[in-house]
């Protein structure tokens, strides 16, 4: 079975493959009885491995499906909940992802879909003992959260990332009814924050909490209730509070929970100093297990140093909410010799990044976010020299997300030469169509260098002025590329054709505002079934082109989102994904499945 065929059958790791077709001869040479096979297979956790296991033969397919406890569904529309529960009888943990990633940037209209409720009602019947639910970019209503709280008595862990549609009332239901809750992780959601009283809904009997993250909520919670909760949950290891928690309150919490491994602080400054700074510093010193610190809103040179005693063992420092200047970052990083992951705002400047290169030799991941992404004049931020400085000092760097206003081909080539192990390279030159500002040439050679030099590259986001040459390089060299993001780039259909003709491992392709048309789209006919999804918006696609694709490939859903402004024959936003569930039954009126 060649690779492409195999991948076609793996629809987001949940197959509807008829087991009889898997292997014509299912008489193994060394038969393992089920009693041996199932316990062995239950040790396998990787989804890719489990998919491979299920394709070996009918016995292994059955053993695998009975031993699987966690199912990951990367696109909630690629499969129906009925198919999932039909194949896997004993699931304890479900991960579901919904909307296309560009919905994070307002490119997907509201009410597009990805409602979790239909899933919950099926899961409640099939998996009454479900313990974990992790959702990303799903539409979650308060009713769904209430349903979840009331129908799964063993429920332990809820993680909501970039979801929307719910309010703090839904959280009240979870806090009130989930008697065994161990994890409540609310991140970056479009949540209607009606108040902080949801936290007070945790019953006094709840002592099992291990993870509590409400950093993205705005309302003040009752601090007494929070302190009591933290005190009685002795296994709490992750606590990320919101900005309303001040330093005095944070100190009290830390004294109650010195065992924390991940801490998200509240506001990290105060006008009124009720405790000496030294006290705070000592408290941080007593937290011997801290690996991650985040939050640090509003912090400054006066208060940031209190965390120094905890920095030596830190592996992840998230400063993306703290507008630090270069010297503040430098002073901090001197203490952070074990740092593996660092997120900062570009207020630290190139000098701050030089400090990163100097003090963090073990760094593997760097993300530099723009403090003023929509400010267009006189912005400082970071440039190519900061990028190069980090690469010189951090040879283990393999994940970068870098927002800047200017870049050069030479700098990027230097960076990847210093760090050839890149797996994730996401460069965002914020000025559209920006060429190499020194040579005025397109940025083609930069990304050419990336794909040539980094054989392990899995994820790439390109920006700047780019011609088809960039895509020729990508198609030719990026053998392990799985995710590609393209915006405002390319010169003709050839660009997309190069990518679709190469990149054997491509899974997700998202494109906006590029001059790629129907011919390019149709050149990838055979590829789309081996991919999770393709997004193309504001390109050059027409309804007819999409109809041709839909007709040729019945196992794809070809969805077009109609825009009021665009003409009838234009396909303004197109989302294509493989599915075994057929066309969506819950599509809103503006989504046409062809």
């Amino acid at each position: 079975m060649d690779l492409n065929q195999k991948r076609t059958r793996m629809v987001d790791r949940v197959d509807s493959v008829d087991p009889d077709l898997v292997s014509p001869e299912s008489t193994p040479m060394c038969p393992f009885p089920d009693e041996v096979l199932e316990p062995v297979l239950s040790l396998i956790n990787s989804h890719k491995d489990r998919s491979s296991v299920s394709l070996v033969c009918k016995d292994w397919y059955n053993a695998e499906r009975w031993s699987r406890r966690h199912v990951f569904i990367g696109n909630c529309y690629s499969v129906s909940p009925e198919i999932v529960v039909g194949r896997f009888p004993k699931i304890r943990s479900v991960t579901l992802k919904g909307k296309p990633r560009f919905s994070d940037f307002n490119l997907v209209p509201e009410d597009w879909g990805a409602d979790v409720y239909p899933w919950l009602s099926v899961l409640a019947k099939a998996y009454p003992f479900l313990e974990e639910l992790r959702l990303k970019r799903m539409a979650v209503s308060d009713e769904s959260l209430e349903f979840l709280a009331m129908n799964f008595p063993e429920f332990k862990a809820l993680s909501l990332l970039s979801c929307d549609g719910f309010s703090t009332d839904g959280l009240k239901a979870i806090a009130t009814h989930c008697r065994n809750l161990a994890e409540l992780d609310i991140q970056e959601n479009g949540i209607d924050d009606l108040g902080g009283d949801w936290l007070s809904c945790f019953p006094e009997t709840l002592t099992t909490l291990q993870v509590l993250n409400f950093a993205s909520l705005n309302s003040e919670v009752n601090f007494n209730d929070l302190e009591k909760l933290v005190t009685r949950c002795k296994s709490l290891r992750v606590l990320k509070v919101n900005r309303t928690i001040n330093l005095d309150q944070l100190q009290k919490l830390l004294l109650r929970a010195p065992q924390l491994t991940e801490l998200g602080t509240g506001t990290f400054t105060q006008d009124l100093v009720t405790r000496p700074v030294a006290d705070l510093e000592a408290t941080f010193g007593s937290c011997k297990n801290l690996l991650t610190i985040s939050g640090l809103w509003d912090t400054n040179s006066l208060y940031l140093p209190v965390i120094y005693p905890a920095c030596a063992s830190l592996t992840f420092l998230n400063l993306s909410c703290a507008a630090l200047r270069s010297f503040e970052l430098a002073m901090l990083l001197i203490h952070c010799k074990s740092l593996r992951r660092l997120w900062v705002l570009d207020t630290v400047g190139d000098m701050g990044l030089e400090a990163v290169g100097s003090w963090c030799p073990l760094l593997e991941e760097l993300r530099v976010f723009p403090a003023d992404p929509f400010e267009q004049e006189n912005v400082a931020g970071v440039t190519e020299s900061g990028f190069v400085a980090v690469s010189r000092g951090c040879p283990k760097l393999h994940y970068v997300l870098y927002f800047c206003h200017q870049m050069t081909n030479a700098a990027v080539a230097t960076v990847v030469q210093n760090c050839p192990g890149f797996t994730h390279f996401r460069l965002c030159i914020m000025n559209l169509g920006q060429p190499d500002y020194v040579t005025n040439e397109p940025m083609d050679e930069a990304f050419g260098a990336v794909v040539r030099t980094c054989p392990n590259l899995q994820r790439l986001a390109v920006s700047g002025l780019l011609t088809d040459l960039t895509f020729e390089y990508i198609g030719k060299y990026a053998k392990n590329l799985e995710i590609l993001s393209v915006a405002f780039a390319g010169s003709s259909d050839l660009g997309l054709k190069y990518v679709l003709g190469g990149c054997p491992r491509l899974r997700k392709l998202e494109i906006r505002d590029c001059p790629f048309g129907n011919a390019a789209l149709l050149s990838g006919l055979t590829k789309y079934e081996s991919m999770r999804s393709l997004w193309m918006s504001a390109c050059n696609l027409t309804m007819n082109g999409c109809r041709v694709l839909a007709k040729e490939m019945p196992r794809l859903n070809v969805e077009v989102m109609k825009d009021e402004d665009s003409e009838d024959s234009q396909a303004h936003k197109v989302y294509i994904y493989r599915t075994v569930a057929g066309p969506r039954r819950d599509a809103p009126p503006f989504v046409l499945t062809l």
């Binding site: 970056e188 506001t267 403090a371 267009q376 005025n440 259909d493 048309g517």
Partner: protein
């Protein structure tokens, strides 16, 4: 929208034309001889109108890009994608050729000098789709994350009634999301304060004017009242561009 944009464009902007490198060399050369910026702007606009009445079944013969795609103007760099024309090669594949038109910053080394065109670009910004900042969803920063980090606290800072008086006051700069704080105790006059504040945001003090919010919640221009009175009533500060 497109009408006013294109006439604006035609009247006020100078363009530096650079051709996108196309792998089809014949089309590249044909572009350079035929391209006339003013012509093509109008052409694209008219062409789009014409398309509405066309009744082609086969769109492949007649692809057009969305009319004008505007980029990030206000930093003096714009990126316009203007559709040139279609070529059909012998195999009936359509290749579209796109011409990228750059406006370059006058600070770029070696680039053709531009007038900065601020007023014009600001107007153009109003004409784009989306949130008025420019192109929808660009740069790709999660909006909830932005809001999450820059949310203003509900509590008062500095000099509220009854609480002990702190001398740090918040300063906002028009157009910049991240505010700063300044210790007013270090200053005795407007003459030292304004340049200090301007410097914090990388501006020249001649380019800004200082306003402040008093205890009644009104915003006033700084400088009318004596310094001592100002210190006693100020709640927060804002710098605005002149």
């Amino acid at each position: 929208m497109v009408l006013s944009v294109s006439s604006f464009f035609a009247k006020r902007m100078e363009l530096h034309l650079s051709l996108a490198i196309s792998s089809s060399s014949s089309s590249a050369s044909s572009c350079s001889s035929r391209f006339d910026p003013n012509y093509n702007i109008n052409y694209t606009h008219e062409h789009s109108n014409k398309r509405k009445h066309d009744d082609y079944d086969d769109d492949d013969n007649d692809q057009t890009m969305p009319l004008l795609v505007w980029g990030n103007f206000c930093c003096n760099k714009s990126h316009l994608i203007i559709e040139e024309h279609q070529d059909h090669d012998g195999d009936d594949e359509v290749q579209s050729n796109y011409v990228f038109v750059h406006r370059r910053n006058e600070y770029d080394g070696g680039a053709i000098g531009w007038p900065p065109m601020k007023s014009c670009t600001e107007n153009l910004c109003q004409l784009t789709m989306g949130n008025g900042d420019g192109v929808i969803g660009w740069p790709p920063v999660k909006l909830c994350r932005k809001k999450h980090c820059q949310l203003k606290m509900g509590t008062e800072d500095g000099g509220g009634g009854g609480r002990s008086k702190s001398t740090y006051y918040k300063v906002h700069m028009e157009g910049i999301e991240i505010a700063r704080k300044v210790d007013l105790n270090l200053h005795q006059s407007y003459q030292t304060l304004v340049p200090t504040l301007a410097n914090m945001f990388g501006k020249c003090f001649e380019d800004v004017k200082l306003t402040y919010q008093d205890q009644e919640g009104d915003w006033l221009l700084a400088g009318d009242v004596p310094w001592g009175t100002f210190i006693n009533t100020v709640q927060r500060l804002k710098l605005q561009r002149k």
